[in-house]
């Protein structure tokens, strides 16, 4: 599968990548985006099977990316890995069509639980 990892922190993109590996999800084609606009553009151009996105990013927030993709008819599986977790955010994410919501700091066990049904 092709996975797009969107986070303005390069370190956090590396940690997401490493945690995916630690959770046993090796061998996937990984693409990265460093801000919301790039995430949106790569989600359209690269046609990933899964988008793992930060919420708070420059240019466009993660929720704006998701809404824009859905408005354009893109139904890629999309979810959030973010330090922010409020009921209003979770509710906004679900309403916009988010498949999961992982809060930082996260563990490989949490990744396994969330991504096993998606990545197999």
């Amino acid at each position: 599968m092709k996975i797009l990892i969107a986070d303005d922190s390069r370190v956090m993109r590396q940690i997401v990548t490493r945690t995916l590996r630690q959770a046993g999800f090796d061998g996937h084609d990984l693409v990265e985006a460093a801000d919301g606009q790039e995430a949106h553009d790569k989600a359209q151009a690269e046609k990933p099977d899964l988008v793992i996105s930060d919420w708070n990013m420059p240019e466009m927030t993660g929720i704006e990316v998701l809404r824009k993709l859905r408005a354009a008819g893109n139904d890629v599986k999309f979810g959030f890995v973010t330090s922010e977790c409020t009921e209003e955010m979770k509710s906004a994410a679900e309403s916009a069509g988010s498949a999961f919501f992982i809060v930082k700091p996260f563990t490989a066990e949490q990744f396994d639980e969330v991504f096993s049904p998606i990545l197999g």
Binding site: S9, V11, Q14, I15, N56, T86, V103, K104, P105, F106
Partner: protein
């Protein structure tokens, strides 16, 4: 409204424990040891601001060596391989993670800013319309680390 009743020093300690368990000390051998020394010197810091139903800042500060070790732990590298860009990125992410968790404990309707990182002591930054309301001060592998919360003061009450 004082945030102290919403986010206590114990809450900050719990958040820090989670960060340490996930990224900085997954084997549980080198925790952040609280000292309570709010005068301990720092060399670098990062800040996220919170606005909305609560206004203020969360500041993560540490010695340069602690920041370098944190970056090395985040990146699974040796400390001497870590560059300034890595250190800035990790400092920003540390403030972002704790700030995000703090925000989740505040009344609904708050917004978190992107982090600002300054590779200079905490005292190099001023928060003229805010006062420190709580914090956690400690040592990690003998190096200073602190997380403090600053609440904005209403105009006219700052004097």
């Amino acid at each position: 409204m004082s945030v102290e009743t919403v986010v206590t020093q114990d809450d900050l300690a719990e958040m820090v424990e989670q960060v340490w368990a996930s990224y900085l000390d997954p084997e549980g051998v080198s925790p952040l040891l609280p000292t309570g020394d709010d005068k301990q010197p720092t060399e670098v810091h990062s800040t996220v601001s919170i606005t909305g139903t609560w206004h203020g800042h969360l500041v993560y500060a540490s010695s340069m060596l602690a920041a370098r070790r944190a970056a090395a732990a985040f990146l699974a590298m040796d400390a001497d391989e870590v560059g300034a860009e890595d250190i800035s990125d990790v400092l920003g992410e540390l403030a972002n993670i704790v700030g995000g968790n703090v925000k989740a404990m505040l009344p609904a309707g708050c917004f978190l800013s992107l982090p600002t990182v300054v590779l200079a002591p905490e005292t190099a930054s001023y928060y003229p319309a805010a006062e420190r309301i709580s914090g956690l001060w400690g040592q990690w592998e003998g190096e200073s680390i602190s997380i403090s919360m600053w609440q904005s003061v209403k105009q006219g009450e700052a004097a």
